[in-house]
Amino acid sequence: MPPFDSEDQELLEGFLTETTELLEKLDDDLVALEKASDDPELLNRIFRSIHTVKGASSFLGFDLLVKVTHKTEDVLNRLRKGELAVTSEIMDVILEATDLVKVLVSDIKAGEIQEREIDGTIAKLLPLLSENAAAPAPAAAEPASGTSQQAAAEPAAAPSPEAAPAEPPPAPVTQEVAPVPPPKPAGDAVAKKAPVPKPAEGKGEDLSDNTTVRVDVKRLDDLMNQVGELVLERNRMIQLNQDLQQGDSERLDFNEEFGKLTKRMSFVTSELQMQVLKMRMIPVDKVFKKFPRIVRSLARDLGKEVDLQIFGEETELDRSVVDEIGDPLIHLIRNAMDHGLETPDERVAAGKPRVGTLILAAVHEGNQIIISIKDDGRGIDTDRVGRKAVEKGLVSEDQLAAMSQREIFDLIFLPGFSTKEKASDLSGRGVGMDVVKTNIKKLNGLIEIKSEKGLGSEFILRLPLTLAIIQSLLVEVEGEVYSIPLSSVLETLRVEQRMFHMVGGQEVLKLRESVLPLMRLQRKFNVQQRYENDDFCYVVVVGAADKRMGLVVTRLVGQQEVAIKSLGNYLANIPGIAGSTILGDGRVTLIVDPVGLIDDGEGAPGR
């Protein structure tokens, strides 16, 4: 990579930011184009995006990028002029080209330009530019006279669906497609560095990263204003302190003034907190955006017809959460596509429309965000899931017989579970749902499954908005105060101790219809008994992912918003403790990790 001086560096960064944004949007637009091929507005926008990338890269001298974008632009231009019609095959090629562009851009981003193998992709684009490839007729088997020798060797203008590029990275293209011109002789300046062109199979998907944020200037101004306020209040506080020290002020005056100050301070800090939180908020769109593309590829691979509908993509949540939910969502979508939705023929036979519907929706609810993935496919077959679990030795016949429908649904989250007879590229290895559960638990989230056989299923994720500051419930356990993340708390109860039952050595509580396993925090945390045994105690019902458990505590203290502090490396992995926080009086309070406790509870005797 040629050394950039500082000015160029700025240009380069600008280029990267702009290009990344364009490319992110492009995927979406391209998939939309396939559905609405007669939308000139959309087509023009796509054309402009590619054109912009081309212009900028040629200005900065990224030759490879220019070559690819140039040809892609030409193809798009023909589409725009109506000389070509949008077909899935053409879209495949264009998508492959944009993937290649992403790879090249990510190379630039990584600061290391590699000699990528681009001719294969270009060779696929070229036939689309020949006169003969005009109009809907995809089989321009005759080599076009106008095109070069490469095209002559091209077997067909449009690759058959089987040859469609695999998702996510462009298949290690070409080898079988066309004899590509050999790499340039190693006299070339760039080629010296990397004599062998690498096939373009880098991770173009990872192009978008969240290391930098663009913040609305207005938000920044607001923040500055609030900080100004805070400084004023601090000055006021110093003044008050001085007055008090010098005995200038009457005690009564001071009390009143200090009370006012406290109120203003608390107002300013909560405003400040909101604003900083807002800055960290990014729309969930950032994640959702890549799904149309994934769904398209999956649908083509699986031979299914899917109508993906996305709602609430403008819903905002904290960056820390956005970074984490991508993976689980991909697994859930794959699961819905592979296991949930039927093939078109099966659907028709079942009296449903040929095209399946997959709905991805996000919505705020209080301090949580709720993401739902819903399909109208075949639903979860509880009998089959149960049988498989028994076959695999995950549960016994007896256990199965005693399970509720909900518990059976939960079986699919067990590691190694899969109803697929054969592992496919997509699923069947039984890792997917396991990953979903682990990731969601890591985020202190909950998963809920709704499913009706024959009608479809819905996976509902409940996630906290942020991971840095949480609402928590302070509880007291024999004199020690612990903090439980409110996002995991489902309800609290005041119970008489004699309402507890023992089942196989495990204390349980009958809560409405269900039986709730209990855990005494006092025992778990080895807290010394301080009070006389009371008849009453409190039970905090917590849930993590799909499990529920009741934590027995002495007293509820109250709700408080707390900032999470790490316990450092040395005490990082204490079971049942997620971190710590500092209360108003300066004392450290430990934050309970309900997820860890629940997992631990599973291993306890009697379960």
């Binding site: 020690e480 080895n526 450092g568 204490i574």
Partner: protein
């Protein structure tokens, strides 16, 4: 810096002047490199942390940072005593992390030259891990045990924490 504490035979380190903070623990005097000590504080409220080794007393709030507190007496297997007015927490930097160590009393900062450090005799005190003793200093009236904090927690203990 750390190398200077280890009794190396190289001449440079022998002549180097080292500053140590000395503290008392059960009638014995110990010293640690002054550069490792961040501050010395009185006993604050310590929040107990469950399921940790017995010598971890808990955690405290050090101006908004939560740091673990280790009882030196428990760590070295000495008899436990109640905290008194002399009891101090030495906040030290152990491999990039702040940790507080409870000691009976902190006495002074002393200067010694590298040549005064002698390799520790086979048995210095029962219960103390030989590992974390970098040497002893024989100065007229007093005998100082020089501690190497980095070796305070053995590989096994680290493993224990990592796997917990």
């Amino acid at each position: 810096m750390n190398d200077a504490l280890v009794p190396v035979k190289s001449d440079e380190s022998r002549d180097k002047l080292i500053q140590l903070v000395s503290f008392n623990l059960d009638q014995e005097e110990y010293g640690v490199d002054v550069l490792k000590v961040r501050e010395i504080i009185r006993m604050p409220n310590v929040t107990r942390v469950p399921n940790t080794p017995s010598y971890v007393d808990g955690v405290i709030n050090l101006r908004g940072k939560v740091i673990p507190i280790i009882s030196m007496r428990k760590k070295f297997g000495l008899m436990e005593v109640d905290n008194d007015k002399q009891t101090r927490i030495m906040v030290m930097d152990v491999e990039g992390e702040l940790m507080g160590f409870i000691v009976d009393a902190v006495s002074e900062v002393i200067r010694i030259s590298g040549s005064e450090i002698q390799p520790s005799p086979a048995v210095v005190a029962s219960g103390i891990d030989q590992e974390c003793i970098a040497g002893v200093i024989n100065q007229a009236e007093r005998l100082l045990v020089l501690l190497d904090l980095e070796k305070m927690f053995s590989g096994d203990e680290r493993q224990l924490f990592a796997s917990m």
